[in-house]
């Protein structure tokens, strides 16, 4: 895959297909005079600016989406804890961590994909906000917990699984958005 294709895919996560194509084209046009480093710096900067603008232009809509994301993620998160709690003899074993990971990471993937299905362009920005808020809260709770009591192997495993959950959340959003773009681009060809 060429740089421009990668850039367009990344930009397409946060803006419309036409906008992503035009922005990627503009940046590749200027890359000849500025170089590859400039190109990627501005691809990332533009993706960040566009996602931030999606949040600031409609903060209430984004807040609704983030709330919906919390509600969607809560179901598999609690289901994971419940599944592990059903077998007390397994708590703290490798099996319990695998089960918890499957529920939480699977839940993250499902939540990300669902948010993008609810709101095509703003959904990915909501995923980023949810991931950032989640990470900040987890790190905060983790630090408070570590300060108040000794760090155990169990708490390290618990926080590691939780801290990694935003990765499948973002991946789920990105996969859903890419699929939507592919479907949209295939539709005119199918009509022919």
């Amino acid at each position: 895959m060429r740089d421009i294709d990668r850039a367009q895919r990344l930009l397409g996560l946060f803006t419309s297909v036409d906008c992503a194509e035009a922005i990627a084209g503009d940046l590749i046009e200027e890359r000849r005079s500025h170089g590859v480093f400039w190109f990627w710096r501005h691809v990332l900067g533009t993706a960040l600016a566009v996602s931030r603008s999606a949040v600031t232009d409609a903060p209430l809509q984004t807040l609704n989406l983030v709330a919906a994301g919390c509600a969607l993620f809560a179901t598999p998160a609690f289901a994971g804890v419940a599944a592990v709690s059903l077998f007390p003899q397994l708590i703290g074993t490798l099996v319990s961590w695998i089960v918890l990971s499957l529920f939480w990471w699977g839940g993250g993937l499902w939540t990300g994909a669902s948010l993008v299905m609810i709101a095509q362009t703003r959904g990915m920005a909501a995923c980023v906000v949810l991931a950032l808020v989640g990470e900040v809260l987890l790190i905060g709770f983790g630090l408070i917990g570590a300060w108040q009591q000794a760090v155990s192997a169990r708490s390290v495993a618990f926080y590691t699984i939780a801290l990694l959950a935003p990765a499948p959340l973002l991946a789920g959003g990105a996969i859903a958005r890419s699929r939507a773009i592919t479907c949209a681009s295939l539709r005119p060809e199918q009509k022919r």
């Binding site: 036409d18 906008c19 194509e21 035009a22 503009d26 200027e30 533009t46 600016a49 566009v50």
Partner: protein, 110 residues
Amino acid sequence: MSALNLGEFEQLILLAILRLGDDAYGVTIRAELAARAERPVSPGALYTALQRLEAKGVITSRMGDPTPQRGGRAKRHVAVTALGMRALRRSLQAYERLLDGLDLFRGAHA
């Protein structure tokens, strides 16, 4: 209906679009702002401002033809709408009225 207010950056973008005419798209608008307004603008800032202006109905956009120099990607040409022209005129007239009687470049206010 309340009048549409434009910020300083938005006014500069609209003026650059008007100067460029049919050739107004991301790259040329940034170059025009850097050359004439001596204001280097990051691509991210420009594209978010263009999206905001289009959402307000101040500009319209149309996709051009893909070109090999752009990796086969089309340009997104922009133009100022009648609403945009009215908002720009009103903003610039406000400047004119405020500047009337002041001599900022020479004299007492220099």
